[in-house]
Amino acid sequence: MTSRHAPVIPPHMLDALARHGAGHLKSRAQNTLSIDQQFRQPMSARAKASIIHQNYPDSAPGAPARYIFDANQQTRLPGELVLEEGGEPPEDAQVVQAYEDLGATYRFFHDVMGRHSIDGEGMALLGTVHYGQAYQNAFWNGEQMVFGDGDGEVFLPFTRALDVVAHELTHGVTELTAGLEYRDQPGALNESISDVFGVMVNQYARGEDVTQADWLIGADLLAEGVNGKALRSMAAPGTAYDDPMLGKDPQPAHMDQFVNTRSDNGGVHINSGIPNHAFYLIAMELGGNSWETAGQIWYDTLTDERLASDAQFIDFAGLTMAHATQRFGQRVAEAVMNGWRQVGIGP
């Protein structure tokens, strides 16, 4: 029996028309695909992202293609285009911060990891600011990054923090590489990878080595009067805030305190504290700049085809040790193993 919602024109034909059709056919196919998405099961991340990105061309290697939109306090995406690559910046701090932070994140991935944008092929970086009213969040929706202004009482505008902008862009990289499922341990790895690259982008931009860095996520986001120093602490998970409005930071630092919950997609922002702390311990043990050794190992692991979308902490740890050995040798591999052991993961 055919579902009454089954499309008359198969999606692969619409996709072909959207990509290669002439004039009005191309435009109509793009619109239909966009609307059609709302009524079908989710498409693959790459296929979905490719639809909106038809309007925003990829960049040449070595340079980003940034497009910043203003949602004007509405929730319609992407919003009004207010700045594109090389354009004259408007007098809007959030627009300029988003543009600069996306550029800094692009440069990190390109110059340090050798990756040309989110998909490795120059995918345009789309960011929307002023999303919603007093919106206390930033996210990646499979196509672009979105930043709220915060409410001013607990949170300041989310573009203020480079590590947060980098965190969201890294969600795109993870989605188009390992595709880690957003639940339970693979979801916590997904979140941790965004935190790890978020802090590295910050440290790289500031020229900080592992001893100079604060190892905090979102240290610039909390408004005055909030009892906290950041959203998360990789050096001391569970200590970032303890505030009447926010509650207490619930992150564990060790598998002994792993939180079994169905809340937060199975604790993806909670148990990420464990791999976060492992990265911190390993980077501190290795010394120097986090992105030169530990960061390279994490990137090698993220882009390793053996990393399954349902990977558990132990699977990820095993691959980091393999890459540490392969790229840097036994001494570094032992430091990596010791770091994981200290958080209760590994032999």
């Binding site: 206390q136 969040n137 929706n141 969600h171 926010l246 809340s263 937060d264 993806v268």
Partner: protein, 111 residues
Amino acid sequence: MTRFEDLSRFTRVCITREGGLVAAPGLMRPRTFDVVECSLDEQNALCHWLNEGERIGRQASPGRGDQRYFRICLYKDRDGEASPDEELNVPEDAAPAGVKALWEEGRIEPL
């Protein structure tokens, strides 16, 4: 027959807003509705919004990439801390007005 057709099987409906980059416990702000205290019209409206939420939640991937979502849990047990008997995740950005009203205003939007 959907799993939310007959609310008389449940005593409580609890809604929280979860996920997001921050995902702090204080931002979840749970709201609880006592099914027994709801009028028949309110129960019908609640069924309607839960079914609408389920339709949306099935199509999207609630929570992915730091997107916030509403988590709705239904309990048969009145006071215990047991796991929910049914639960549903609805993406905040696509949530029906009636689901948003449950969390934002603590009220059941009439049909």
